[in-house]
């Protein structure tokens, strides 16, 4: 089992969720985060003073998936979120030791 953490542009969340769901992904967890990276924040002016915003709003998507499904999910996310512009985001894959569905007590792949 793998655990995928994807940092994406907020505007892509809806499309990604639809595509993933269509591909059979049955669950995911979403967090609002702020990201710092190659994409530099904007420079704004507040009351005549310039300042730069370092962190930009991003969405963090977390998915626990079977090995096969996880490869597919990475592809889907890449496809949907790739605009080619800096700031599209990153996908990180982790080993997952165990998963458990609280409601039923099922573990492993059953729990995903």
């Amino acid at each position: 089992m793998n655990y995928i953490i994807a940092i994406i542009q907020p505007s892509q969340l809806e499309a990604v969720q639809e595509k993933l769901t269509a591909a059979g992904v049955s669950g995911m967890t979403v967090t609002e985060v702020r990201g710092y990276g190659r994409q530099r924040g904007k420079t704004e002016i507040y009351r005549g003073t310039e300042y730069s915003i370092n962190f930009l709003p991003k969405i963090k998507l977390e998915l626990a998936l079977d090995d096969k499904a996880s490869a597919e999910a990475v592809d889907i996310i890449t496809e949907v979120c790739k605009s080619g512009r800096i700031g599209d985001g990153k996908i990180f894959t982790f080993p997952l030791t165990e998963a458990l569905r609280i409601r039923t007590g099922e573990t492993g792949s059953e729990a995903l």
Binding site: P10, S11, E32, K42, E44
Partner: protein, 440 residues
Amino acid sequence: MSPLSKLFGLGGVALAATILPLPAMAATDPETAFILNSLSFLLHGFIVMLMAAGFCMLEVGLVRSKNATAQCAKNIGLYSISGLLYWLIGYNLMYADVGGYIGSLSIWSPSDPSITDAGYTGDGTDYAASSDWFFQMVFVAAAASIVSGAVAERVKLTTFFVVIAVLVGIIYPIQGSWTWGGGWLSEMGFSDFAGSTIVHSVGGWAALTGAIIIGARKGKYSDDGSIRPMPGSNLPLATLGTFILWFGWFGFNGGSQLAMGTAADVAAIANIYVNTNIAAAAGVVVAIVATLVMYGKIDLTMALNGALGGLVSITAEPLAPTPGIAAMIGGIGGFLVVLSVPLLDKLKVDDVVGAIPVHLVCGIWGTLAVVISAGGGMGQLMVQATGIVAIGAFVVVTSGVAWYAIGTAMGLRPDEEAEYDGLDVAECGLEGYPEFTRSS
């Protein structure tokens, strides 16, 4: 022709009162009457002025938070532009030497001939010139505010401001001269006491025209026909705005009696307050019951719109009806709002705050309902319809030209990314709630 000609076209009650002979001993003296007439404009005017805050809060509460700053900027900007343009062009175009279809192009300045070095020399039927200007100015600002809500979240601010300048400086005053300036509609007998048509529908027509020309917010209507609601970000502020508007409406309708120098006038104003309040209350109750029956829940935004729908509906004739008739007129207004909000969505007209149902639909209804409360039968109904159609056509055409021409010249909408990120960042460079908002 002076602004007093606004009086013509009212139900007979108020008018009659001012021309009847009064017993010499008991009556208010002319100077006191002048003071009280002016005072009515001033105090009713300042509470109407607060409606600018009401519109702003209503609208900022109903937009998404990423457009909150821009919505505030639009509202304080439009109120300011209205105040300047109505002085530079609007007032005299509406009230100075109206020949039938238009007044004269000149800058307004105050003049009180009845106040001389020897004291007040009038007969007590006039008032301070500035008090009237002030009262008329806050009206035009209200009309402008209506537009800003409907086209929220997607129009460039600078373009919006120029369109508003045309609306308040030219379009509004010209049609206003037809009735309140003593022009052709007033001679025909068109009756619109405080402006269901002349203020509210005018704003509503300009809003509708703008909403259609600008188009819907990105993502609002999908190709598959589905509609995506974009819930308002701060309903407590929207509620506050509604209460403030309700409050200001006592000035809007009450001050439109245009005099407070006789017992009959003040009694008329009092009756207007009562009818205004009852119509709004009925609008709320009907909207609450309707959403409860239709959707199983109480839609607060509909209740708020219901209040305003009731208020707009009674505005064409707040004096003549009994409380019962006022309740009926306002209640129907509330119901029309509940019906027309989803209808507009079906027609893919994206009206962010419900300005069109409230001000246009109820404005038309209220103007027709004058026949119910003040009588006049089929003949008057035709006159009312004539006014509605004439003013509607005029505003749709002129505001359409304005939206289209100015939009072409200056750009109507920010680009897609700016709209996605919100106008706050794109147009104002600062977020309305930088520490609260979630990113999606």
